[in-house]
Symmetry: C2
Subunit: 159 residues, 2 copies
Amino acid sequence: MKISSSTEYAARLMAVLARSQSEASVSAERLSALENIPADYVNQILLKLKRAGLVESRRGQGGGYALARPPQSVTLGQIMRAVEGRVFEDVCEKYESGERDCRHQSRCAISPVWRKLAALVESYLDGVSLEQIMEEKPAACGAAAAGTSGGMQWTTRPH
Amino acid sequence: MKISSSTEYAARLMAVLARSQSEASVSAERLSALENIPADYVNQILLKLKRAGLVESRRGQGGGYALARPPQSVTLGQIMRAVEGRVFEDVCEKYESGERDCRHQSRCAISPVWRKLAALVESYLDGVSLEQIMEEKPAACGAAAAGTSGGMQWTTRPH
DNA sequence: TCTATTCTTGACTATTTTAGTCAACTATGT
DNA sequence: ACATAGTTGACTAAAATAGTCAAGAATAGA
C-alpha cells in the first residue's frame, strides 16, 4: 500500500499553485523545474487536474496554470480522484465484475474491514485541504523529521 | 491505493484456519480448494505466514497448517506485514535512499500528511484481530452489501 | 523400508500497473 | 508570422504483482 507518484506529484503541483496565487499563472515548464518532475509528465497530470475542474489554464505567451478554486475548498481526496480515478480500490470490485469466481468459504468476511479502511482513508484525505498543506511547516524530507515535527495536528472531518 | 491479492488471500487463509481450530491442521491443498486460490500461491503465502510466526506447519500425511497463536492476538496488520513486508510504504522512502533528487520547492510539505495517513491505516489494521473477523457476519460479496450490513462496528485501537 | 502425502525452497514467467516519453496539433499574445 | 504554451492520444519502459514450476526434504502409515 502506497501513494502513487502521480498523486504525490499532483499534490505538490497543487501546493505550488496555491502558493503562487499572486501570479496570474505558472507554466508547466516552470512547475516542472520547481518540483523536479519530468515536463511531459507534469503536463499529463495538470491536464487531469484541469478536466476535474481543479485548475484553470491559459495558452499562449504568458499562459500557464492556476488554481480554479480557493485552497480551502480543494482537498487531497479530490486531487487523488482527479489523477487516479478513485482514492481506494475495493478488493472485491474485481470479483464483482465477473473477472473471477467469488465463491469461497470465508465469503468476504474480511471485506467489511477493507471497506471500513477505505472509508477511513477517504474521509481523512477529504478532510485535508490545500490550505492546510500551505500552512504546514515544510518538514525536511526524511525519517528524522517524522518524530520531531510540529505538524500532523490535522483531524479527520467525517463526510 | 488498494489491498493486494496476497494480503487479501492471506487474510482469508488465516480466517479459515481460525475457524478450523478444532482440527489439528488444514492442508494447503484443502485451503486452496476452500478459498479458490491457486494451490502454489497458497503455499507461497502460507510459507511467509509461517516465517512470520503466525502459523505452524506439519509435514507428511495428515499434515498441514494451523494457527500458531490464538485469533485474538493476531491482527490484520501483522498478516499484511508478514506477506508484504510493510503495511504502508512512505512515498519519501525512495527519495531518502538517494534514488532521486529530493529537492523541490514544496519541500515535502505534504509528506506529514502521508505519514499521518500511514499511521492511521496501520493503527486501524493493527486494531482488527482475527477473532473480530471470525465474529463478523459474512457479508455477500458485492456493492449491495456495503450499506445494509450490520458490520463495520470495529473501532481503532491506538498503539 | 517403501511410498504417498505434504510442506519447503527458490527460481522462473506472465500479466498488469505505473511511470514516463513522444509527436503532432491547437490556441494565444506580441 | 512567430514564438510560447497548453492539448491530445498513442506509445514505450520499468517495476510490481500475480501466478507457475520443478526438485527436494520430512513425516505418517502400510
